[in-house]
């Protein structure tokens, strides 16, 4: 089962190495990991998607790192989760129209059109990316680049509306 964990860390050199070394040392499996700045320049936010039955020990070990400030494990549905993907699809002249129609429905943006292929950018919740990828696999995916996931907890007050739009 996949779990999404947000880790606020001090923005110090090597903090990514500390976190990834801890995961390796403790035998925890990282599915994806992203890191970037936050609204507070002294802090960075990592979003880690982890494979495993339970997160208690992982959360505790993350907290043990001196530069870890806060760890949040998101319950399913309580976070806004996003990924971005670039996917290149076989698209000869005959199929091009059909593929572009499908892409429009999936809110995928054609960012590069070549003689035999089209490259799409898809941004959104992980499900949307997965759906589009599956759809395109019938045409033949020749290259794929995917970001790790980023996530923010929903604002309690707007949780309901947010979940509708996502």
């Amino acid at each position: 089962m996949k779990h999404v964990i947000a880790v606020l860390v001090e923005n110090k050199p090597g903090v990514l190495a500390r976190v990834s070394t801890m995961f390796a040392r403790r035998g925890f499996n990282i599915h994806s990991l992203t890191v970037g700045p936050t609204e507070d320049p002294t802090l960075s936010r990592m979003t880690v998607v982890v494979d495993g039955p339970e997160m208690e020990q992982i959360v505790k070990q993350l907290y043990k790192l001196v530069h870890t400030v806060k760890v949040t494990e998101f319950e399913p549905g309580t976070a806004i989760e996003r990924e971005i993907m670039l996917v290149r699809v076989n698209a000869g002249p005959k199929l091009r129209g059909e593929i572009l129609d499908a892409a429009r429905v999936c809110e995928a943006k054609a960012v590069d059109v070549g003689v035999t292929s089209i490259t799409f950018e898809v941004t959104g919740p992980p499900d949307r990316l997965a759906d589009f990828l599956q759809l395109m696999s019938t045409y033949g995916v020749t290259a794929l680049a995917k970001s790790g996931r980023i996530a923010l907890a929903r604002d309690q007050k707007t949780a309901k509306t947010q979940s509708k739009s996502a």
Binding site: V9, E10, M22, Q57, K60, Q61, Y63, V66, K70
Partner: protein
């Protein structure tokens, strides 16, 4: 007028500011600059013969004194040599600060001479580490390192200091406030959990206090004694907790686990409540977790939340400092009127102690039994010695047969099991407690790893004593080969004659003594105790066939504890 210092001067002054009285180390290229101001500093420097030795010395010093031990070495191979000592201290939560030299910041990453990625390599072997990039950072970095090493769950912290940082000048300033927003070790336990723990204890029929090294690290020996006597509950003391509670006390059952005594090990198995304080359900204690203390609920007090429910689920977790939480437990217990009567449970345990004592047989005409040496040593010193062990059979026998009465007088490598720990750690302990008799009980295998530090002891005038139990074997491994590999001994027999340990000791500037027969044991110990101006090593030619029992086979259930070789063999036949 603000004072201008080099990074090197700032480093040594920062150590002085922390109240450091001694550093253990060895100079070299990258750290050279830091060695110059040591000449003017009141800090004593003990020159080790190997950086691993320097690290274990710092650890032994920390164990014996409760203060932070400091190791100072150069870059590259010195730093990698130190890694074993760091991991050792990390596993046993020993407060240490290690300072390593590094190649100049401009050379980092260029595979410069004696460059190693110390920061990266030491990351999983330390509680925290840092690479300093400017001389200005030094006072705060040192303050932070000592703070981290000595608070919360203690442990080693490493500071990597590039050569140019030591050369650069800075304006001296005292370290500022610690700024670690993510580091807030818990002190007091949650009152609701404390109350729930007391409730559970009062409901239990067969409680056992399961006490680990964390109680010693917290300096909570007195509180523990008060609490145990108040509850009148039996206690087991793990390998890391020996001496925290007096062995002579009727409530102390001694060491449980793989080589624990029957009563301590089986008391846990039959218990319905383990009151766990500063212990971590290590595999050497639990055996196969599936079969460990099957009927017991668990109260788990630990300063490190990650230890709680890591190996065994805790019904009542209490995160906090052992001393503070035991005090809370005492206060909460005092509020209750009468406490549960434990007499029947204690009577059962005392019956077991009588039925299943630790045993060995010293034939007056046979080879010296290692246990006999330890008992004679205890008798002659009156137990008034700090015992430092390496790893293996001698370590287990020392823990089993020495009657420990005081905290900080038993020092060994528990978690990592580092052979060669005893000699350097004994040196560190003696430096920290010069008025105590410090006796390393070592094996011949262990001694050959770090015995060269005997030179350090002689030259630096650190008169440790060494009881070398020579069974011409890597004894514990040999025991396993004997029991589990049908006696097929592979690479576990060492030479019975080479080296001549007494002569080796003499060559190192120590006194070398030797006993080959049981009737020589007492005399040679008395001789050694009379020598106080130099280190002294006694080589005891011991029984190469002796084995440590009781024993729970690795990965087995603690219920399958074998009391002797015969007992073990009879089970094998049944199986």
């Amino acid at each position: 007028m603000p004072e201008q210092l080099t990074g090197a001067q700032a480093l040594i002054r920062s150590l002085e500011y922390e109240g450091v009285e001694v550093v253990f180390g060895m100079p070299g290229g990258a750290i050279l600059k830091a060695y110059d101001p040591i000449l003017e500093s009141p800090i004593r420097h003990v020159l080790a013969r190997h950086e691993q030795g320097a690290g274990h010395m710092a650890s032994g010093y920390a164990h014996a004194t409760g203060r932070v031990g400091v190791a100072l070495v150069t870059s590259g191979p010195a730093a990698t040599n130190l890694l074993t000592a760091l991991q050792d201290a990390y596993m046993d939560s020993v407060p240490m600060v290690a300072i390593t030299g590094q190649v100049a910041t401009t050379s980092i990453g260029n595979d410069a001479f004696q460059e190693a990625h110390t920061w990266g390599m030491s990351m999983p072997a330390t509680k925290h580490n840092s690479l300093i990039t400017s001389a200005d950072e030094i006072p705060d970095a040192v303050r932070e390192a000592f703070h981290l090493a000595s608070t919360g769950r203690k442990g080693p912290v490493l500071i990597d200091v590039p050569k140019d940082v030591l050369v650069d000048t800075m304006t001296w300033h005292r370290p500022g406030e610690i700024n670690l927003p993510g580091y807030k070790p818990a002190v007091k336990g949650h009152p609701r959990q404390v109350k729930a723990a007391v409730d559970l204890i009062e409901q239990s029929q067969h409680p056992v206090l399961y006490v680990g090294g964390g109680v010693g690290a917290a300096g909570a020996g007195e509180e523990l004694k008060r609490y145990a006597e108040m509850l009148n509950v039996p206690m087991v003391t793990t390998l890391m907790a020996r001496g925290i509670f007096p062995d002579s006390h009727a409530l102390n059952l001694g060491m449980p686990g793989m080589h624990g005594n029957y009563t301590a090990t089986i008391a846990m198995q039959r218990s319905d409540l383990l009151i766990t304080i500063g212990a971590r359900f290590d595999d050497r204690i639990t055996g196969d977790l599936k079969y460990f203390a099957p009927d017991a609920k668990v109260i788990h007090v630990d300063v490190d939340p990650a230890e709680i429910s890591k190996n065994r689920f805790a019904d009542i977790p209490i995160v906090g400092d052992a001393k503070a939480v035991i005090e809370q437990l005492i206060v909460e217990t005092e509020k209750r009127g009468s406490l549960a009567n434990r007499d029947a449970w204690l009577a059962t345990l005392h019956d077991w102690q009588t039925t299943y004592p630790l045993e060995y047989d010293q034939d007056p005409d046979g080879p010296i039994q290692q246990q006999y040496v330890i008992e004679e040593l205890h008798r002659i010193t009156g137990g008034d010695a700090t015992i430092v062990a390496g790893v293996g059979q001698h370590q287990m026998w020392a823990s089993q047969f020495w009657g420990f009465e005081e905290p900080r007088r038993w020092i060994n490598s528990g978690g990592l099991g580092t052979m060669g720990y005893a000699i350097p750690a004994a040196i560190g302990a003696k430096v920290g407690t010069p008025d105590e008799v410090v006796f390393a009980i070592d094996g011949d295998g262990c001694f050959q790893m770090t015995g060269s530090e005997l030179i350090t002891a002689s030259v630096e005038n650190i008169p440790i004593k060494v009881a070398l139990l020579n069974n011409a074997s890597l004894g514990m491994v040999k025991q396993w080969q004997t029991l589990f590999y049908d006696g097929r001994l592979s690479q576990t027999e060492l030479s019975p004659t080479v080296p001549n340990f007494a002569l080796f000791a003499e060559a190192c500037g120590a006194v070398g003594l030797r006993a080959d027969r049981p009737d020589q044991v007492a005399g040679v110990i008395e001789e050694a105790l009379a020598i106080n101006d130099r280190p002294v090593l006694i080589e005891f030619t011991c029984d190469p066939e002796a084995m440590v029992f009781p024993m729970v086979p690795a990965g087995g259930s603690n219920d399958d504890i074998a009391l002797s070789r015969e007992d073990f063999m009879s089970r094998e036949e049944i199986a």
